[in-house]
Symmetry: C2
Subunit: 520 residues, 2 copies
């Protein structure tokens, strides 16, 4: 264990006994991370004039090249990112970390950095798993990370229209606390919930585990404020406009390359008073997928709905304490949140559909186990790596008619690529989000580490990317593009789309300082 | 009456007796349109080489400068557009009308016109009410209208994913017929349904009257194919992607300025087997609006839901045959389509909400009257103009908390502007589309014509635009920007947004030939 950055420091970061038994005991320390004090860090490069200007704007207390701050802001939280830092590689550390206190300060930071050709990386929770926080440094005089943590206010709530304006540096947990105090919920609970923040949700098109009930984050956004090197850009006039292209959708998913999102206005919902989470068993994945599709197409939808394949069900990742207890078949988790009447009404109608389509209700045990354990997965990566076990995830999305084929081809590609390296993997998969026309597939891959686990994983990931591309699926459903998906993304969207994105970047960021190397 | 272009030629284009009594009889022919044969048309300007090249690509039969074709493709169908042609003004007539038979032919048309600096206007139903079909001609060697009527195929249906791929030239009515034959519906019924086409729906972010049940057109689109002067641009990989900005939303609403949409893949739904449309009375607009907001926020939603204000209710435009029969208060129309079970389930739950919030069910009479008469409005404009009665509509959208204020300020602005011209108007309003955070307002304005009815209307329209802008609402909810809203749109989105759109246009359309003067 090296970095306490992910999420809630109070959450245990050690393997449950059952998981430890499954993956084998510690392999004698061969894969231990080097101590934080032993990480080598280059001297900060940013020109003194930049530092002076930034200190003048922000106050010296909010501009630091402190070693621990620089390390804590180095890259994101993909397994390769973790592996690099565990090996002592902090070559991507920013030269400075700054903490603006207002939107206007963010604009000033961008102006100063544009003048001096300093790369700028926006930072909320630091939970990127696609290299979204690793800027190109070539051609720049340094790199500054803009940590938005001081922009942490719930600016306003419109109770009639059910919208809230949130500053981008609010962590998801804090945003939810502030809204609950007013009787509302944002309803956005990605697995990174305990770490990630509002700006990151918007910049990466995050999808929360309750997307069936509350929508994806990009569905929720009514209005955005973006700080750019050319000033302030506000977008989103009204709930549903026919006035030209929807430019909100140009900023959502832009991953910091056009500027830094400082504020969003989003849909909110009354805080639910009731909740039921249940497990449902299906004999196979196809039957479960048909049941989920029927709910997505004909309704009603639960608030949460997901389906693990037989491998994931047998490992029972939904309940690390019960790992290894194989209930057989495929487990779906179906959750309802709302008023008592709404929960009961939907539950009755959903249950009728699931039963008709071959499901068997397993009661609230598996549902509650999943619910209470659902944010724990990421905390297990460091202890697994300590034990010599490589674990990483990837996700994609396609139409319902292509789901089975996509699942098989990605599983085969990853399995083949890792088996060829002498480390046959366990590949688990679940449907994590459903839509009327399709669904996402989320894969978890576990195998022994080789001597070069970063290269080992890239080989597998490349094979998965190629399989996704061949299947015509999207390279990401909710993890964004970053650096890691960039090449495949470019293949996916084509040259004209790339030209269009670069033209837009040129408008907002003529000096090209905004998160260089990411997305475009 | 001059043009048979709008919709179904079989629909009566004369005023019902009750309406005629309301507006007064014909004023002796002072406002009659000049005969079609008397319209003056300039000689076609387009270079002979362009015509030759287009004829070579399309076949001579699909390239015409025929007088009636040019007149039939002159401008759109706003009241000012109708008035101009009624006065014999065909200065905006295209020089050529071409009918490509394939996507590749559309690309070739654009390439040829880009080489020779010919302005290109895409055309499906010709029902634009915002000047979307009136290109700038300055700086161009001519103007060609690309009528997509030959691109009229239902390309494919994915019954599992519930998507259909439609060519852009399909009229709405025909698309629906083709889908119904396979057991599906698109569920898109704008008031222009009997005239408009698929490409227009996509290019203008059309919203159908059943948007509560089936969504807006821009919600339905999974994939788009755009022909541009630089070749083919396809966008949309999967139902829900986090891979960068959503570029579908850059093409939707682009009104032909980036190229011509030739094909879309959209969500479809099982054709409904059952239908119930009912009227509900509320004592006032505020009570009705609260009821609609409650349905939009807490569910369940009917398939159709709309609320007329007291003025519109008293005129009873929902049933032209019963105009003048004032039922008092405000009438809502609430419609359900689906399976028998779904219709009955939603109807029961919706009715309980409406009753709780002060609604009184008026039975299926008013609902069915609205349903059967709902596409008739546009057919009445010519006979009303013949009678010296100016009638035009406009729409906007805002958050629920701003609805009452917006309704009042637009009504006041239009009333004042027309009263000052000596023609005090009747201003009717209804909520036509509801969303969780807001709703659209649709205004119908009726008044006696002055001697210069085009200038008369622009004065009123400008006042409405200013009121909409002051209120922070969107300049259009579903009629798009065209030329008519361009100035207000630019104020609404700001300079950086405009720069971004122009940069994108420069990528797709470096010669600037695509629908010049519209949007950007």
């Amino acid at each position: 264990m090296q970095r306490p950055r992910w999420g809630n420091p109070g959450t245990p970061g050690h393997l449950p006994a059952a998981a430890a038994a499954l993956v084998g005991t510690d392999d004698g320390g061969a894969h231990r991370a080097i101590a934080a004090d032993d990480i080598e860090l280059a001297r900060p490069q940013v020109p003194a004039a930049v530092r002076a200007s930034l200190s003048e704007v922000l106050g010296a207390a909010h501009v630091t090249d402190d070693r621990s701050a620089r390390i804590a802001h180095t890259r994101g939280y993909s397994t390769p990112d973790i592996l690099a830092l565990r090996a002592g590689d902090a070559t991507d550390a920013p030269d400075l970390v700054v903490q603006p206190g207002s939107h206007d300060e963010v604009v000033r930071i961008l102006e100063i950095c544009a003048e001096q050709r300093v790369a700028v990386v926006p930072f909320t929770g630091g939970t990127s798993v696609v290299g979204g926080l690793t800027p190109d440094r070539a051609g720049f005089t340094g790199a500054v990370t803009v940590d938005l943590r001081r922009l942490d206010e719930l600016v306003s709530v419109d109770e009639i229209s059910r919208t809230a304006t949130l500053q981008a540096g609010l962590r998801g947990v804090r945003a939810e606390e502030l809204l609950r105090a007013k009787g509302f919920t944002l309803g956005h609970f990605p697995q990174s919930y305990e770490g990630a923040g509002i700006g990151g949700y918007a910049a990466t098109r995050s999808a929360g585990q309750s997307s069936a009930g509350y929508g994806r984050f990009d569905d929720m956004v009514e209005h955005l404020v973006l700080a750019t090197p050319r000033g302030t850009f506000e977008v989103g006039t009204a709930p549903a406009s026919a006035a030209g292209p929807d430019l909100r959708q140009l900023i959502l998913g832009s991953e910091g390359v056009f500027g830094i999102i400082t504020e969003v206005t989003v849909r909110i919902h009354p805080a639910p008073s009731h909740r039921v989470f249940e497990g449902w068993h299906f004999t196979d994945f196809a039957a479960g997928a048909t049941a989920l599709r029927t709910l997505a197409q004909d309704g009603p939808l639960p608030t949460v709905v997901r389906l693990s394949d037989d491998v994931e069900t047998s490992i029972n990742l939904s309940d690390p304490g019960a790992i290894g207890v194989d209930p057989g078949g495929c487990l779906a988790v179906v959750g309802y949140e709302g008023t008592a009447e709404d929960v009961e009404s939907r539950r009755t109608r959903v249950s009728a559909v699931l039963e008709r389509l071959g499901g068997t209700c397993a009661g609230s045990g598996p549902g509650e186990a999943w619910r209470t354990g659902r944010f724990r997965g990421p905390y297990l990566r460091d202890p697994l790596l300590d034990a010599g076990v490589l674990v990483e995830t990837l996700e994609t999305v396609t139409y319902w008619s292509h789901i089975a084929e996509l699942k098989a081809s990605v599983t085969d590609a990853v399995t083949e690529a890792l088996t060829a390296q002498g480390t046959p993997p366990l590949v688990m998969c679940h449907i994590s989000h459903v839509y009327p026309t399709g669904a996402s597939l989320y894969f978890t891959v576990v195998c022994p580490e080789t001597d070069d686990p970063i290269a080992q994983w890239w080989t597998a990931k490349s094979a998965a990317n190629a399989a996704i591309r061949t299947a015509g699926a999207a390279i990401t459903h909710h993890h964004a593009v970053g650096r890691d998906h960039r090449a495949t993304y470019h293949q996916e969207i084509g040259d004209l789309a790339l030209d269009a994105l670069r033209a837009v970047k040129q408008v907002f960021d003529p000096a090209g300082i905004c998160n260089p190397g990411v997305l475009v």
